[in-house]
Symmetry: C2
Subunit: 434 residues, 2 copies
C-alpha cells in the first residue's frame, strides 16, 4: 500500500463514529454525562492541527488525557514475544525509569507495572500489605477514599475513614488524634481526589505519621497526581504510591503502576497469611518485576507489549527534562485556569488554595446553569470537560483536567482554548457574572 | 507534517532496538529462552512486505500473535472519554460482538471485558463463582491447570486436580468417577493448554457433566482456543469461557475477556459471601458491562479505549466471514504443520491426533538438538518460535503458534516460511532424519 493510501486507511479507521443520542445516567453511571451534539465541523475552527492524529475534540477531563503523537504511535508497535530480549529490555528500562519519575534512588524501592487500571493498585495494597483484621486509616477527600475503603474490606482489613467536608481535607491535628486512638497498620491518602480536585499535602503528613505512629505504612493514591504533582518518594519517606497510566503520565489507560518502599516490601514478605488476590499477588509478580528490570525473561501473566512501549515513550519524554520544570508548568497552567475561573465569578470545590490540585480543577456551576447544557456547548467548541462525580453534589459541578501535553506542549493551545470556550459557553447558556 | 515524513517518524519510532546478549533463564523464567542474534537483515529475505508495519521477525509463538495492520492502527486511536457517547458505543458494540464470537444468543449470557490479562479470568471465576470451602474439579492437561488451581486456593475454594500423562488429557470415565466421589461446585477444563498443545473435547465433556452432576458449573479456560477453535457456548451448554485478547482473537495483550451463562450468573447472584476480589468483582463490573452494552455511560474503573478499539476492529474482521471458515482455516494450517513435523521425523507432545490443538503445536526436539541452538537459528530466518513451558520437560520441546492472520491472511506466507525455516534450521544444527 502506498504511503498516502495507508494514511487514508488510518484516518478512515480513526474517523468519528456517529455520535450518540442523549442518554440518561443510570445505576453506576457518572452523573451529568451530557448528550453531545453530532456536529463535527464546529470544533475544528480554533484548533491548531495536530501532527499525526486526526482532528478531534480536545480531551480535558481528569484522565484519560490528550496523548503525544509518539506515545500513541508506540501503541501500534508490531507484535513481539513478551519474553523475547527486545521486549524484556524495553520493560526493564521502563521499570527503571519509573524510579526516576517517583524520585527514588533507594534500591530497596520496588516498582510494579501490571495490566489493569488505577483501581488494581488498591488491590495490590489491600491484598498484599494488609492482612485480615488489620486496621487501616483512610483519609477521605472524595469519592475515591470510599472505594479504597471498600477494597480493604474485600480483603478482610478494617478501614476507618477520617472524613473532611467536601472541598477540604482532614487536618493534621485530627489525623494525629486518630493515629493515637488505634494502632493502624496502614494510612492511606488520596493525593488528588479526581472527584473533588482536592490536593493533600504529603510531606507534613509523612512527618506526622513517622513521628506519632512510626510503624504505620503511608500509602498514597496518586492516580490523579503522579506526573502532574511533585512526589519525592525517598525524601518524604513514602511507603507506597499507586497510580495509572492515563493521567499525569500521559500514556493510554490499561496499566496499574506503583512503587513501594523497602519497608513496605518487608511488611509484605513477613505476612502471616498468603496474599488475598491471585492476579494482584505480589508473591506472583515480585520475581517477575525483578527479573524484567534485570533484563531476564520471566513469566507469570502476559504483559501488554504495546502499552509498555507507550509507557516507555512517555517516560522517556517526561525524563528528558527536569521534573521540576514539568511540575512548574502544571502549576503555572493551573494558576492561570484558577484565576480565569475566579474572574468569571465561579467557585472551586477546593476552597483553600493550598488544597487545590495542579492537574485538575473542580468548578461549581453558577446558579441556573446545568451541566447537560454547558458541556455539549463546550463540546461544540472542541473541548471536552467532565461532569461531577462526588455523589452528594454531582449535578452541581464540572471538572477540567489540565495534565500532560495539554500543559507541557507549547505547540498546543489547549488551555487558552478551553478557558475561552468556558467563558463564551457560560455566556451562551445565559450566565452573566453578578 | 507531510504524509511521507509522518510515516518516516512512525517507522523510526518502531525501529528495532539493539537485540540483547544471551541470557540464562532463572527463577520463574520460561526455560529455553534462547539468546537471539542481533543480525537484522537476515530475516527479511523471504518475507513478503507487510503494509504498515516495519519489517520484523514473524511471531509464531502461542500468543501474542502477529496482528493485522488495522488492528494495530486502532491501538493509536486518539484519546476519548471513557464515558463519552462515542467510546461507550464502541465498547457496547464490542461486547455484543463477543456474543457472536462465542456463538451465544441466549440473552442471559453475560460478557465481560476488563483491563488485565488471561490470568485475570481465573480470578473472575474463583472469586465470584466459587465460595470459600467449595470443591472444584480441575482437569489437568499442562502448566495452566496448576495455576488455575492455585488461583482457586487463593480465594478459599478447594481444588482437586485430575491429571493425565503429559501429552494426554483426562478421559471421560475417570472424570465420571471423580464427579461421583464428591459434589463439585465447578469443573474446569483447559480447552488448549498453551504449555502442551493438548486440546480438550468440550461437547462430550459437557454432556457427561450435565448427565452425572448437573449442578456443577462447566468452566472453560479458552485463553489459547477462543478464535482458533470452534466453541459453541449455547449448544454445548457451557457456563463460562475465559480468554485473553492476544491469541486467537488477534488483538494486542491487555484484556481479560470472558462469557458466562445465565446459570453461572445466577450462582454468582446467590452467593452467601461477598466476592473475594475487588478489581475482579462481578458485583463491581456486572452493572458496568450491562450499561456499556446498553450504550449507557458507566464507571467503576477506567477501561483502555485504545485496546477496546483494537478488539472492536479485530472482532469486526473475524465476524465479517463465517466462523466455520475461520476454524477450518486453522484446522487446515494445523494439519499442514503437523504433517510437515511428522515428515521431519519429529513427534508432538499431544500423541493422539484428536488431542491436538489447531492453533499451536508443541514439538519434541530430536535427540541432540537443543532449543538454545535451534531457536536463534530460526530467528535468523525471520521466525520466532517459543521454548518449552511444562516444567517437567521444558528443555525437551519447542512450541509453534499458528493462529489469527498468520493462517487467515492469504497475503502472508507465514506458515510455509516457518515450516521451511524449521526444516533448514534443524539441518543447520546437525539434525538428520533417521
Amino acid at each position: 500500500m502506498a504511503a498516502r493510501e495507508r494514511l487514508t486507511a488510518i484516518s478512515k479507521h480513526l474517523d468519528h463514529r456517529p455520535l450518540a443520542t442523549p442518554r440518561s445516567p443510570i445505576g453506576n453511571s457518572p452523573p451529568n454525562n451530557p448528550p453531545f451534539p453530532s456536529t463535527r465541523s464546529l470544533y475544528t475552527e480554533n484548533k491548531p492541527k495536530m501532527s499525526t492524529q486526526p482532528e478531534h475534540p480536545t480531551l480535558l477531563i481528569p484522565g484519560p488525557i490528550e496523548f503525544d503523537d509518539a506515545v500513541l504511535q508506540s501503541m501500534s508497535h508490531y507484535s513481539e514475544s513478551h519474553v523475547g530480549p527486545a521486549f524484556v529490555a524495553t520493560f526493564g528500562e521502563t521499570l527503571s525509569m519509573l524510579r526516576k519519575l517517583f524520585q527514588t534512588t533507594d534500591t530497596a524501592s520496588q516498582p510494579f507495572v501490571l495490566s489493569g487500571s488505577g483501581t488494581l493498585g488498591w488491590d495490590l495494597v489491600a491484598a498484599n500489605l494488609a492482612e485480615p483484621g488489620d486496621d487501616v486509616l483512610v483519609l477521605h477527600t472524595g469519592y475515591f477514599a470510599d472505594s479504597f475503603a471498600a477494597c480493604f474490606e474485600t480483603y478482610g482489613a478494617k478501614p476507618t475513614q477520617l472524613k473532611a467536608p467536601i472541598g477540604s481535607r482532614p487536618q493534621l491535628p485530627e489525623i494525629e488524634k486518630a493515629l493515637g486512638e488505634k494502632k493502624y497498620k496502614i494510612l492511606t491518602v488520596t493525593h488528588v481526589d479526581t472527584s473533588t480536585g482536592v490536593l493533600s499535602e504529603l510531606k507534613a503528613l509523612s512527618e506526622l505519621v513517622h513521628r506519632v505512629s512510626p510503624e504505620t505504612l503511608l500509602i498514597v493514591d496518586g492516580v490523579c497526581s503522579v506526573g502532574s504533582e511533585n512526589i519525592e518518594f525517598d525524601n518524604w519517606k513514602l511507603d507506597g504510591v499507586i497510580t495509572a497510566s492515563q493521567k499525569g503520565i500521559g500514556c493510554p489507560a490499561g496499566l496499574s503502576i506503583s512503587m513501594y518502599s523497602g519497608r513496605a516490601m518487608d511488611v509484605f514478605k513477613s505476612r502471616k497469611t498468603p496474599p488475598g488476590s491471585y492476579f494482584a499477588s505480589m508473591k506472583n509478580w515480585l520475581p517477575i518485576m525483578q527479573n524484567y528490570e534485570a533484563k531476564k525473561p520471566s513469566y507469570f501473566a502476559t504483559p501488554s507489549p504495546q502499552l509498555i512501549h507507550a509507557l516507555n515513550t512517555s517516560l522517556t519524554q517526561i525524563l528528558s527534562r527536569p521534573l521540576s520544570d514539568r511540575f512548574a508548568a502544571h502549576q503555572e497552567a493551573s494558576q492561570k485556569i484558577k484565576k480565569a475561573i475566579a474572574d468569571l465569578g465561579l467557585k472551586q470545590l477546593a476552597t483553600d488554595p493550598a488544597d487545590q490540585a495542579n492537574g485538575m480543577t473542580a468548578i461549581y456551576l453558577p446558579e441556573g446553569v446545568k451541566a447537560p447544557e454547558l458541556l455539549p456547548n463546550l463540546f461544540k467548541k472542541g473541548v471536552v470537560f467532565a461532569g461531577g462525580l462526588h455523589k452528594e453534589i454531582a449535578a452541581k459541578y464540572i471538572r477540567f483536567g489540565h495534565m500532560g501535553v495539554s500543559v507541557t506542549d507549547p505547540k498546543r493551545n489547549d488551555i487558552d482554548k478551553a478557558i475561552k470556550a468556558l467563558e463564551t459557553g457560560l455566556s451562551d447558556v445565559g450566565y452573566q457574572k453578578a
